[in-house]
Point group: C2
Chain length 331, copies 2
DNA sequence: ATCAATTTCGCAAACGTTTGCGGAAACCTT
DNA sequence: AAGGTTTCCGCAAACGTTTGCGAAATTGAT
């Protein structure tokens, strides 16, 4: 017969009170060594595990954190998730994951679930459509910590961890200038994203129109296919560009298709440099030189922020994960 | 002042009993329409949400499922996760994520967490090192459903959902034969994996050594780099092979590097066909023809199995997600 | 031997629900 | 008017913990 492993059960078998068992298991000084031993031995024998729900109910804090992203199937997000999960496991937290599908309704419904489950905190990359933070701020009334990451809102009084977009773009620009490239095609994402704006600004500053030596063509693309078409257009004109800068992995894949289609040699015919989360650039030959903005690092950073917030010892702030150049052979 | 939204609170404000409030909120027939309205109105006003932990404690079943994979950062796994999460949300379940890092200790520790949290069920892709199922079977004593996916154990009496490995390989073989390819290099993964064995067997059957018209070279590789080296070796010998079959995405990426390095034209110089989860093959030009074994589909399948198990109406069995050919231009 | 200090433990309430059961009131029957 | 139904609601126990407080038992000091 299967007997449930509970404090009550142990207390009955040892004819001591439940409270004594509870204290014995947490090594409370009030309990004598002998009693502790009897309790822990039996607990081990019947494989006692505290009931998480009872504990959470009693203590009103669960060791659970949530991560909400627009979609999981994205190398950046799941490297972030993976990273946070790693830390969480070490510190005895479990992670629940939520997809918003970039849908505001799903997003708020997910937040409801978080309240319902009385989670300790949530990491969230808000959906693009969402401008209304009230649902998030309400979480804080419940004592649930909120850490925004990646696409962080402009609103000041919240915790944010984000990539050092400006310095990442700056690193890429450094390389381009050091290699004395003169005719650059910069492929950027959607204009309205802050990430795009920050990266674009760096390039515009570093390669000003007034500089007669170098020319920078700027194009905004909104998909991999789009990037392929645009790159193809530029590459068709003989020696119009000598370098292509891609703002993201998605853009890079499109560009690489265009290059493979035309069978252009990298970096002889055209140089490539990209900003990436770290996987895509290694798929090609030669491997693409890229500035790494790692979801992994961001995850670690976010987690440590979460812990400080949980301990109450931290005020609202924005912190950045720095970027690093990974040299390939593409420029 | 922040007042907690609980049944007790509502009952006090309306001077009715807690049980009445509880029943009113679940639309129990015992409660009169007027009372129901009073309760639901107030509940909405103070934004009442049932405390998940209290509910789980009382009913001893939480609406939480877990997914454990060796690592999240893998296209197949996270398409699986994403797929399951989607269904879970629709049915009011939440998903917790666990990584085993292919480490048996972490794996059992994770299972402990599952018991502790009294989850409803778990989807698990066991770590490769693990041959001992006892920890999983113990979960069932706790009433926790276990569904193995992808790398399922041989053990009979458990629920498994897996990819139709044999038919996937068979589909690929069909294409190779239809295209009248004669000199085939088949690159397979680690020998001890059942997935490798099943796929390999199909190829050995379909291209028997006795057939003097076609030759099949079989190699086992254990990483992307390994695949690159091996492919490179074969490709160096002029017209030794006309077709390369890759068992997985990982292998494909290695092979493609080798091909790009030698700047061989696909499919003129060499044809490629692979089994894939659906993303990698689209990265190249021409896109690689592949047999799709989708984590997404497998997720849907696994979830529906989970639900049947939860409803108690199902016996242990293994089911398969079928494979489908996606034509690219690589063969 | 007396009293105080210490060690060791148990009582009981609380966390927020769910649910079987029983009971009061109101409503039909005949 | 008596008995039988039906409608509506509350009591109380239970889920498995944690924890403040008090009390018994032991120890030590004088």
């Amino acid at each position: 017969m299967f007997q449930k492993a509970t404090l009550k059960n142990i207390s009955a078998q040892l004819s001591i009170s439940i409270s004594t068992v509870s204290r014995a298991l947490k090594n409370h000084p009030d309990i004598s060594p002998e009693t502790k031993k009897r309790v822990t031995d039996l607990a081990k024998l019947i494989e006692y595990e505290p009931n998480g729900h009872a504990v959470s109910l009693r203590t009103s804090n669960s060791r659970v954190m949530a991560i909400m992203v627009p979609e999981i199937s994205n190398y950046f997000y799941h490297s972030f998730i993976s990273s946070v999960e790693e830390e969480a496991r070490k510190t005895g937290y479990t992670i629940i994951i939520l997809q918003s599908a970039d849908d505001h309704e799903i997003e708020t419904e997910n937040l409801r679930l978080c309240r319902l489950n009385r989670i300790a905190g949530i990491f969230v990359c808000p959906s693009a459509s969402n401008t209304n933070l009230s649902a998030f701020l309400k979480l804080e009334e419940y004592g649930i910590q909120v850490i925004f990451f990646d696409k962080v809102p402009d609103y000041e009084a919240c915790n944010k961890v984000s990539l050092a977009d400006a310095s990442a773009a700056s690193l890429a620009a450094d390389v381009i200038q050091k290699k004395k490239k003169k005719k650059i095609l910069g492929l950027f994402g959607k204009t309205n994203l802050s990430i795009t704006q920050r990266r674009l600004k760096v390039f515009e500053d570093r390669f000003p129109k007034t500089d007669r030596n170098t020319t920078l063509y700027i194009e905004h693309v909104h998909s991999s296919d789009d990037a392929e078409k645009t790159a193809s257009k530029y590459l068709s004109k003989r020696s119009l560009v000598d370098t292509i800068f891609c703002m993201s992995d998605e853009i890079l894949t499109g560009v690489m298709k265009a290059i493979n289609k035309k069978n252009l040699k990298i970096p002889d015919k055209v140089s490539i440099i990209t900003i990436s989360n770290g996987f895509m650039p290694t798929l090609y030959f030669p491997q693409i030189t890229y500035v790494e903005t790692s979801g992994y690092k961001l995850g670690k950073l976010a987690f440590s922020r979460m812990i400080s917030c949980l301990n109450g010892g931290s005020f609202k702030q924005e912190v950045f994960a720095n970027a690093v150049l990974i040299e390939g052979g593409s420029i």
